[in-house]
């Protein structure tokens, strides 16, 4: 490893550790140590399916503690497997932390990681080969929680059912993930969303088929905590400052270089471009995302902050302002055409997470990007019920289906049009 690469990795690791630690400490300050721990414990046995806003359920301190610990588990897994920090791992940690605010808990993600580990061993691979699948595959954490806490078993059988369900889930994820990748050819950034959604269809059908039902309550915090409103902008400014320090006089050209990448999977902006450009891009996405939420008067709650953290993470792995605005425009247009309020839960999350389709705009242009965003909104409002909210990356699922449709048409046209 070169000295320059080592500096990049150390900087990224330092940023992530600082961020996660700051989340825990600030949570303690806002809610108090006792309340935070009490809230955290409550979350471990609470239903986790979409949409369970942990801030509404456990308070700010409990939710932040849970999110940071989920993030730290990701960091430890990356460290143990000996993988260096870069765009995809940065994206994975911010995504895991973000979803630790509405669905992931330390308890419901570990069995899935174990399942992926067993799957890797079965085909004589190292765990690090499947690390990204394991980290993002934790999107099915709610399935583990459902099996453990909503079926109605006593404690020990419940724990065994949850653990076994999680391991089986994780075991199947790599095989599905590879197939799903070919379906959209890398034009849906959240491939594990499509993977987990596909698996979730079967899991949900099985649970319902066995006669079990579960609550469909939505927990959506709609308060206006100044701390939560300022959280993402402050983190974004920190990232921009770090990027400016790292890039010095080249910062602007580094950012411009990031804007030239289509963003198709796997586009590690840290490697393809620079750490400085990736950090500034990540921060700008956070600032513009927050501005959008502020303008449409949506609450800064667990899912929204989690969503913003996710797209900031993907600011180092495929998303930038130039390739994402067309898809967001498409979502906004579809929301208005269908008469939905822009600040209702579905459209808010769709606008944030639709950036999963930004490579379509990056590769094929503005019009396909807007069209993709438009279709995405129509799809995502339906797909959640298909898997019973088991798959936290519901937008990745809808985005994958949308990308597959658009890619099929483009591929058919290009491969069938006579050239000779």
């Amino acid at each position: 490893m070169t000295k320059q690469s080592k500096v990049k990795i150390d900087t990224l690791l330092m940023i992530l550790v600082l961020f996660l630690t700051a989340l825990i400490i600030s949570g303690f300050f806002v809610s108090g140590l006792g309340n935070s721990i009490k809230g955290f414990v409550k979350l471990q046995t609470h239903p986790a399916r979409l949409i369970n806003d942990y801030i509404e359920i456990a308070g700010i301190g409990g939710a932040l503690l849970n999110a940071a610990l989920v993030g730290f588990i990701g960091l430890i897994l990356i460290h143990i497997s000996g993988i260096s920090f870069s765009g995809p791992t940065y994206a994975a940690i911010l995504t895991m932390t973000g979803f630790g605010l509405f669905g992931k808990t330390p308890l419901n993600i570990i069995p899935i990681v174990l399942g992926v580990f067993i799957s890797a061993k079965l085909v004589n691979k190292n765990f690090k080969d499947y690390l990204i699948i394991a980290l993002f595959g934790t999107a099915l954490g709610p399935l583990v929680s459902t099996l453990a806490w909503e079926i109605g078993f006593p404690l020990v059988p419940a724990l065994i059912t949850g653990l076994a369900g999680g391991i089986i889930t994780g075991f199947f994820l790599p095989s599905i993930a590879f197939s799903m990748l070919h379906l959209h050819q890398g034009y849906n950034l959240y491939n594990m969303g499509l993977t987990c959604g596909f698996f979730g269809l079967f899991a949900s059908a099985l649970i319902k088929g066995l006669g079990h039902s579960y609550s469909t309550d939505i927990f959506w915090y709609s308060g206006a905590s100044p701390f939560l409103i300022m959280l993402i902008p402050v983190v974004s400014l920190f990232l921009i400052i770090m990027g400016l320090i790292e890039g010095g006089g080249k910062s602007f050209s580094n950012l411009k270089e990031i804007f030239t990448f289509p963003g198709r999977l796997p586009s590690d902006f840290v490697d393809l471009g620079s750490l400085s450009g990736a950090l500034i891009n990540s921060g700008l996405i956070g600032l513009f995302g927050s501005l959008y939420i502020y303008i449409i008067d949506a609450p800064f709650n667990g899912p929204v902050i989690g969503g913003l953290l996710t797209i900031m993470g993907f600011g180092a792995f495929g998303t930038h302002l130039k390739n994402s605005w067309p898809v967001v425009t498409g979502v906004v247009a579809a929301t208005m055409v269908t008469g939905n309020p822009l600040n209702s839960p579905g459209p808010v999350l769709a606008a944030i997470f639709s950036t999963t389709l930004s490579p379509l705009a990056g590769e094929f242009g503005i019009f396909p990007g807007i069209l993709a965003g438009f279709i995405h909104l129509l799809m995502v409002l339906q797909t959640g019920s298909w898997h019973g909210g088991m798959n936290l990356y519901n937008n990745g699922f809808a985005g994958g289906l949308t990308a597959a449709l658009i890619i099929s048409v483009i591929q058919w046209y290009r491969t069938n049009k006579e050239e000779f």
Binding site: I83, S84, T89, N126, D129, Q185, G186, Y187, P262, P266
Partner: protein
Amino acid sequence: MKRRDFILHLIGEISSYILEGDPSRMVISLHQEKDGLHLCIIDDSEHSDKEIEKMNKALNSRKRPELAGYYGAMTGQDLLGSSRLNLLGWQLKHCDVNRTGSGIKIDLWLGGDSFDSRQFTIPDQEKT
């Protein structure tokens, strides 16, 4: 992945890249040993110094098992859009890109853990 499939995908990705330059001639040569292979691709298209520098950067990027093991599955298969040499770069032992009279020559060396560079024509100072 079976070796035959692996080679087909590698050739698919690198050929796709070369064909984007619309060459009138493309030659592919393969030399296989027990635990490694050397793939050589020659074309007659014009390539700028900047492009060759980019190719070298992508093909000689640091090893990324977490990306190669997952996204590497797209190598030579999902060819809609621009070719991605970095998908190859994560899987290579070594690569050289050199100018020929009218185009370029790309040498790719691949292999497993027991790859023996002495079996191949990797330039002496660069043998791993």
